[in-house]
């Protein structure tokens, strides 16, 4: 009993630290890659290749003055950043990052909590994340924040359904909701180590998942809640200092979570090629997550923002029918093949 508590506490601490540092350097990755895609240099002064930029940013945000405007609703204004930050971190509780391993004589599991409804946990927790944005927008007492909050709630409602339906295909194929089992079912010993990835069995589901996930994390081209060119900064216009930083970390933690879930569901999780079995599985996991983060930035560099009516039209008339169709067809095929 004691050993279980010890190992899981160590895991929790390590995962939180890794996720937060990951968020910090995700900002660096974004600025650098975005810079080069726009033929700029990006951060280059703090440390080699600007690698210490997140540290400088963090220090700056901590020491900035915490400004609370007079017209805010105090309680909800304080709750907003926390509500967007905590659910993002909670997601990582069920994401398997490695096979079970032992270290310093302690037996570790490859995941903090092996829930048998892991995916539903992730969806439940991420669906709560929107309250942070909505409440922040509502309580700031500013029209830009309010518009941002309204937009984010409308966007969430529209894309939540397709988001949930997009993974039904994979779940039906795998016949399980547990993340560890999903990873185990995608393992392969052959040289074609990626032959069992669910990406190949349900590509439409993957595209749907990716699109909806980007919409749910409020990233370009779906970043209407914080559209800089129209709404100043959207829901976090009135926030400063660490409160703003919490929104920022929350957004990046959500991106990381989406990357982790996509890796686990469609790209075989921590499974690597069998002929390179000496590489720890967590390395494969991190590589795949990194590729996803890169794609996030790539997407941001490539596409402009949707107009609001386009967003709604796309969500309801394209994604939802496709998601339902995908779920039904996958179900029928699975039923037919037994």
């Amino acid at each position: 009993m004691f050993e279980v508590i010890l190992t899981s506490s160590i895991q929790v601490v390590v995962v939180i630290v890794v996720v937060l540092t990951g968020c910090a350097w995700a900002t660096w990755l974004e600025r650098k890659v975005l810079g080069h895609m726009q033929q700029r240099i990006g951060p280059s002064y703090t440390g080699p290749y600007g690698l210490l930029q997140p540290v400088a940013d963090g220090l700056k945000l901590i020491f900035k003055e915490d400004i609370v405007p007079d017209s805010v609703e105090r309680l909800t204004y304080t709750l907003g950043p926390m509500l967007s930050f905590v659910p993002a971190l909670l997601t990582f509780a069920v994401i398997p990052y490695s096979r079970d391993f032992s270290l310093f004589g302690l037996e570790f599991k490859g995941v903090i909590s092996d829930l048998n409804i892991g995916i539903l946990w992730i969806f439940a927790v991420t669906s709560l994340g929107v309250y942070g944005l909505v409440l922040a927008g509502w309580s700031s007492g500013s029209k830009y924040s309010l518009l941002g909050g309204i937009r984010s709630s409308a966007q969430m409602i529209s894309y939540e359904v397709s988001y949930g339906l997009s993974i039904v295909g994979v779940i039906v194929i795998a016949g399980t909701l547990s993340m560890t089992e999903l990873v185990a079912k995608q393992a392969s010993d052959s040289i074609w180590f990626f032959e069992n990835w669910y990406l190949w069995r349900n590509p439409i589901g993957f595209l749907l998942y990716l699109t909806c996930a980007i919409a749910e994390t409020n990233r370009t081209p779906f970043d209407l809640p914080e559209a800089e060119s129209e709404l100043v900064a959207g829901y976090h216009t009135e926030y400063s200092s660490m409160r703003f930083a919490l929104f920022f970390i929350g957004e990046y933690a959500n991106m990381l979570a989406v990357a982790c879930v996509a890796t686990t569901l469609f790209f075989g999780g921590w499974n690597g090629p069998a002929f390179l079995s000496f590489v720890p599985p967590v390395i494969w996991f991190l590589i795949k997550v990194f590729v996803f983060m890169f794609c996030y930035v790539w997407l941001r560099a490539t596409f402009p923002r949707f107009r609001y009516d386009q967003l709604m039209r796309f969500g309801w008339l394209v994604l939802l029918p496709l998601a339902i169709l995908n779920a039904m067809v996958t179900g029928l095929v699975v039923l037919w093949l037994g």
Partner: protein, 168 residues
């Protein structure tokens, strides 16, 4: 249905080239400079901060005639005259507000004494507005003009053999 088809064609037909464009640009040379470390090449007739010339003996060329102030479209120049010990007219106060200045170079053209020139210096940022009002002392070139002896030799040789002097 129309929306669905259009979205699918976009995803599979129009979006990959767009991604390719951004990826291609990622490996191109950045068009911006790593500024304080690397500086852009300057045009030969670049107009930067002003400086005030002297005669070779060190007296100021400026006689405080006010033509530069009259020519200035931005009203950036302010001056007050006085007499020096030899009874010649010169500027007691000569100030240029570099926040007003538009670096057009009209003062340079208006000057009958060839006293004011626009130099090549452009890095004079500060966090205090008053420090942008440059006084005469800040703009005058130092008296032994060039500490480099070779330049003086070259200039003398040129003057002796009648080669027209270049504006440096």
């Amino acid at each position: 249905m129309k929306d669905l088809l259009r979205a699918l064609t976009n995803v599979f037909w129009r979006m990959p080239p767009a991604f390719w464009v951004t990826m291609k640009h990622m490996f191109k040379k950045p068009v911006t400079l790593d500024y304080p470390r690397k500086k852009a090449a300057m045009a030969p007739r670049y107009r930067g901060r002003h400086y005030l010339e002297r005669y070779d003996d060190g007296t100021e060329r400026c006689v405080c005639c006010g033509l530069c102030a009259a020519a200035c479209p931005a009203d950036a120049i302010y001056m007050e005259p006085e007499e020096n010990e030899k009874g010649e007219r010169q500027a007691r106060v000569y100030e240029i507000n570099l926040l007003r200045c538009i670096f057009c170079g009209f003062c340079e053209e208006a000057c009958p004494e060839e006293a004011i020139f626009l130099g090549r210096e452009y890095e004079f940022s500060d966090n205090n507005r008053n420090s942008f009002i440059y006084s005469k002392e800040q703009m005058l070139v130092p008296h032994p003009r060039k500490p480099n002896p070779f330049k003086r030799i070259i200039r003398r040789v040129r003057r002796t053999y009648g080669v027209p002097e270049q504006n440096s």
